[in-house]
Symmetry: C2
Subunit: 341 residues, 2 copies
């Protein structure tokens, strides 16, 4: 039976066909109340016959709850958003929640507009996501629904922001390089203005200090998140005359650039230099020669965790406040096989 919009089967149609009242039909279909099982069967049969599907809109209006969460991206979506969304979707789908997606595109006005729309649609909660760890303006207090910031840091300490732990991740990388026998480690990373770069550098410095080993060149090589910069930086390192046997890079792209430049200069990875990146970006780590050991930010888990917290908040448990850091994970590949030295 073909039905256009506007003439969908309603629960009244089902009730009529089954010879019961709408209220009874509702109970039958939702397994509530006390009904003769024969009645229940009759209603279900009628619903099936008519191809009835509950109008969730009407139910939401009545229930005061939509089983929908809004996901608001700060900076448009990109490769960081994907794992976050996958994780969030996973957690939300388990709770039968749907996702209303809005792309703020880094535009505050647009974001406010979407916020209005989402609240107008009576979402049960909000996830705000971005792609940097740098603080961003809060959506505001006094919102009628709970909000979790995932891979985004609200500037209001009363909000809950969930982020990966860059310092801890850097520590993993450095300790792994040390464990594979490297003693003269350099750090090549992105722009100093990015908090993520500063955190990774801080983690690097701390882990080296704890081991009593030096940071080669005494400071990180700040640059861009690009392969090109990785190649440049490797050249700078080699020309500096400093000896080094390990490089921790602030991103897989940088690391891949470094790997290329080292290979072309005849320095062997991992035999002479151990190399670690950050991101576990498949196309980079697998494209790299040799395949790259890297720090995985666990973004899928982050998205999952953020959505889970939000679900709990929607169920009534108040949200924690402040910044929560989730640990990163080291993924070892060929670029850090044990040094023969």
């Amino acid at each position: 039976m073909v039905r256009g919009r506007g003439n969908a089967v309603t629960i009244n149609d089902v009730a009529r066909l089954a010879g019961v009242s709408p209220g009874t039909a509702s109970k039958a279909l939702n397994g509530r109340g006390q009904l003769r099982s024969e009645t229940r069967r009759r209603v279900v049969a009628a619903a099936e016959q008519l191809g009835f599907h509950t109008n969730l809109l009407a139910r939401s209006l009545q229930e005061g709850r939509t089983y929908t969460v809004g996901v608001l991206t700060t900076d448009s979506f990109g490769r960081f958003t994907i794992p976050i969304m996958l994780g969030a979707e996973d957690a939300l789908a388990a709770g039968q929640m749907s996702v209303l997606l809005c792309d703020g595109r880094g535009d505050r006005i647009r974001e406010q507009h979407y916020l209005r729309t989402l609240l107008g649609r009576r979402v049960d909660g909000l996830i705000v996501t971005g792609r940097t760890t740098d603080p961003r303006p809060s959506l505001g207090r006094d919102l009628p629904v709970p909000v979790v910031y995932a891979l985004a840091r609200s500037d209001d300490p009363d909000d809950l922001s969930m982020l990966h732990d860059d310092q801890q991740g850097a520590g993993l990388a450095i300790r792994h390089l040390l464990a594979t026998g490297r003693r003269r480690i350099a750090h090549v990373t992105g722009p100093e203005r990015h908090l993520a770069a500063r955190d990774r550098a801080a983690g690097t410095v701390a882990a080296l200090a704890a081991a009593g080993e030096p940071l080669i060149l005494d400071q990180p090589l700040w640059g861009e998140w690009s392969e090109r910069w990785g190649r440049q930086a490797a050249t700078i390192l080699m020309r500096s005359g400093a000896e080094f046997d390990g490089i921790f890079c602030g991103s897989d792209q940088i690391a891949r650039g470094v790997a290329d430049a080292l290979r072309e200069a005849g320095r062997r990875v991992p035999e002479e230099v151990g190399l670690v990146g950050v991101d576990n970006w498949e196309v980079m780590v697998e494209g790299c020669r040799p395949p790259l050991t890297t720090v995985d930010l666990n973004l899928t888990e982050l998205g999952h965790a953020a959505a889970s917290k939000l679900l709990r908040a929607i169920e009534g448990h108040p949200l924690e406040k402040g910044v929560q850091l989730l640990p990163c994970r080291l993924v070892t590949r060929h670029s850090t096989e044990m040094s023969p030295l």
Copy 2:
């Protein structure tokens, strides 16, 4: 004023404060009907004072239309989904439509489940998106809302499927190689089981035939969509003893692998060999040495076009049927500078 869920300001509150009836308040707030401007002002003021925001749920229920479209991904989302979504979002936002996102993850059951949910939520239309051009099962006829397949091909010819034109794209690449002076062109591509690979090969063969030039090795080199395969394929080509001065690769990843292998074998790009990829995937084309000329699939435009068609269908204009192919676009970079020969 802080308001929790469930005690939101309604239009009745506004009406009461403004000393009018809900009906009048509705007209005032929506600029409909004939009202004294003073009344209108009073209502608006009251709404503002109370922080009133229309409950879109209630309005949708009444209007029979939700200003929401469902986006159902076939294969989980990834890098191809992003541009499609960006384009779609752009077109939809202009029509004040929101997006309910569901991730089918390549699971038919899950997809059916989401379809139910989306229809239950009374979306006004659906966009089905994937990441291959290979046919996929139709969502079915008899759906109460219009459906557009974007970067996904329904196996039902009565559905509207919108795809980029791989054959045309290949033609662009080949003619460009010819125009830059190449005459002995090879084709390295992905697995033959992928329609995209077969189409690109067909376009290649056709364009070469039209120009009366040979395909080196007489057939495409089928393989994988990976850099590794690109490197292997380049080696195979060089070892074959065949002369070649141009290579059209089925993806940017393959092309980048080819570029690396050629460079390491001392063959210069673009001086000795012109190289073209497909995808215009930034990280690949910019990471490639030299930067890669490539065929852009125009996925953002595809997403935009699909959403626009859907909007028109929602407005009542019936949807076209069948497969619509959108043209690709060539983006030239250093890898195909004019051959000196």
